[in-house]
Amino acid sequence: MNISTLIIEALRNLLSNKVRSLLTMLGIFIGVGAVIAMMSIGQGAKNSITDQMSSLGTQTLYLSAGNFTENVRNPQDLTNSDVEAIKTLGIADIVAPTVSQPFTLSQSNGNTVNASVTGVIPEYLEISNYEIESGSYITQEQLDENSMVVVIGSEISDSLFSNSNISVVGETIRISGQPYTVIGVLKSKGSSTMGTSQDQVVFMPLSTAQNRLITRQRNTVGRISINVKDSVSLDQAQTMIENLMRERHGIFEGNPDDFTIMNTQEILDTLNSIMNTFVLFLGGVAGISLLVGGIGIMNIMLVTVTERTKEIGLRKALGAKKRDILAQFLVESSVLSLVGGILGILFGLGLAYLIAYIATMMGTELHASYNPLFILGSTLFSVAIGLFFGIYPANQAAKLQPVIALRTE
């Protein structure tokens, strides 16, 4: 028997019992649909996270004081002179030191809000992907003059200035009792990947922060963002900065660093692998319903075999061998699950896009995304399910003795 005859025969058998075939298919349909929907959503979420990460610039290193993994005694703070030293390496487009500390902000109308205040240089805007909604950003002059100015995030603006009719720019807010003039409001960026708001920020000139607000040690900076030149590889730059900092901090060979360099590429890689696990996990959970669907197929195929015992006997009497009967029922169960699987793929994709659409409508940016390999995999997988769960019933059929099978009514 060739495969096309078998498939035609199988389709005819399935069509002769439409309702039952449809219901059986439904199990696989829902199973495959759920897997596809879950994985498409997961893939979409992963893509948007990695997109956000790479929008930070994959060519960026973050240098901060202290070692996060090992104990270091008396770690030295990073200072302005460290920044200058990194600049002289000539490997970076932008070296942007920041210093930040949480404060309570208040406004003359009595509104207060807690937020982290960050001292930055003008170039920081470029690295951090913020855009100005109204007013202007911090200028070099303001940096040089330790000006008492701030640029605030949209959420801060909303919290402090409940009356949105008046222009926020030019208003005065108080941080730690000191008056600061708002010179700009940032465009909303929404939540970050990690769920924290990116709009609850307050920026002021680095010099102002160091000299007026966060005055623990005047030359200290908290973190240095280093945007490495395209011509220099990130790893190379990391090594150079590492060596420079060890030298400057007088760390002996063999001792651990007293600073930490975060590499965005490394973060991206780690995040990617976490997200992959997440996507697989989602798919695995949905896969359980696929398993249930497969058991449904097995159940129905067993019923079919019992029902068609006489036919099996007849076929055997007419010369069908064990493997012919086996093939007939295996093809039937595979076709059943393949058709269910293909419909399920379409359903799953539809569902994924629907969920993404609804999520986007509700304010969480989400795009469904699928991988063609994924679709192929699911198709093959549903055939495999049909085969796997068809083996037992088909074998039951093939094992039947023709005499006994023919006698069955």
Binding site: M1, T5, R12, N13, S16, K310, E311, L314, R315, K316, A317, L318, G319, A320, K321, K322, R323, D324, Q401, P402, V403, L406
Partner: protein, 342 residues
């Protein structure tokens, strides 16, 4: 016709079939030795539970004997494995069942083509199927589903299916059992014509004593054994005295009785010791037509009548042309071969 291997298409020696049911050993068949010649028309008869179905299943290679030897068309099939047996069934045996056993989803043509699915020779499947359907008089109903056909037509489809691989033997299990007497007669006529015109060996299980009386040879089975002389008498006594009145055929009782007696062969020797039967009359000259019309005047035409017509008539003719013992070997090739070996 395929090549003949040896003299007998069926040759069994001490065939046994035992079942174990709980602690009891059931001897479904015990020591069956028989021969069936090429081109014979034989009925297996016996009371319910006598083992005739078991015998038929083993002869049809649907089941394997517990012991003994079975040579089918020159091949020992008693110890073949399942897939070899399936091949043998496919190639050498055509089955006709009481309940037709057609696939209701498939058309007549597809039903007939089914054995070809499992055959090596799949060439011209459609043409061959159409040809055999034409042969059984259903040339115009190729696309009909079984439920669109009458019982007799369905059985004809089944016969066509049995014929598609050009088998040596046609095994029919009560082929007319589910049919009214008119369709039964038609079916029997087809079987007879296959036997006489195409030289197919026909082996048939039947309950119908009327049929049994008319078949050239009867193998009677009692308690799993070929009937003894004494038991043959019982078969004889089965004959319904009313039969003559019912059938409207003038067929002397004595003739059929003696026919039976000679043809039942307890020794497993298939040779027929035939005597001339003189007093068989046949009202029909057109013996094998499958056309309905030629039977319509007949009020009660039955499968048995068809046999009576066929073999009654032939016997007369054969007796003139052939030496005693060869009268049923109506196929010329058959006759020649038998002549050589004799």
């Amino acid at each position: 016709m395929t090549e003949k291997n040896g003299k007998n298409v069926i040759h069994t020696e001490h065939l046994k079939k035992y079942y174990i049911m709980g602690d009891i050993e059931v001897r479904a068949l015990h020591d069956i030795s028989l021969d069936v010649n090429y081109g014979e028309f034989t009925a297996i008869m016996g009371p319910s539970g006598s083992g005739k179905s078991t015998l038929m299943n083993i002869l049809g290679c649907l089941d394997r004997p517990t012991g003994g030897l079975y040579i089918l068309d020159g091949t020992d099939v008693s110890s073949m494995d399942d897939s070899k047996l399936a091949e043998v069934r496919n190639k050498k045996i055509g089955f006709v069942f009481q309940s037709f056993n057609l696939l209701s989803r498939s058309s007549a043509l597809e039903n007939v083509m089914m054995p070809l699915l499992y055959s090596r020779n799949k060439d011209h499947a459609k043409e061959r199927a159409a040809e055999v359907l034409d042969l059984v008089g259903l040339g115009s109903r190729l696309g009909h589903k079984p439920k669109e056909l009458s019982g007799g037509q369905q059985q004809r489809v089944a016969i066509a299916r049995a014929l598609i691989n050009d088998p040596e033997i046609i095994m029919a299990d009560e082929p007319t059992g589910n049919l009214d007497s008119k369709s039964g007669k038609e079916i029997m006529q087809i079987l007879i014509s296959l036997n006489q015109d195409k030289g197919k060996t026909i082996l048939m299980v039947t309950h119908d004593p009327k049929i049994g009386r008319q078949v050239p040879r009867v193998i009677s089975v009692f308690d799993g054994m070929i009937g003894t002389e004494e038991e043959q008498e019982i078969i004889k006594n089965w004959q319904n005295p009313d039969f003559l009145n019912v059938s409207g055929l003038k067929k002397p009782d004595s003739a059929s009785v003696s026919l039976k007696k000679e043809q039942i062969n307890p020794n497993g020797n298939g040779k027929m010791k035939n005597e001339a039967k003189e007093t068989v009359s046949n009202p029909f000259s057109d013996t094998f037509g499958t056309d309905d019309n030629d039977l319509e005047e007949e009020e009660e035409s039955s499968a048995a009548d068809a046999l009576a017509e066929a073999f009654g008539n032939r016997k007369k003719v054969a007796n003139e042309e052939l030496p005693a013992g060869k009268q049923f070997l109506v196929n010329p090739i058959k006759g020649n071969e038998e002549g050589k070996t004799a």
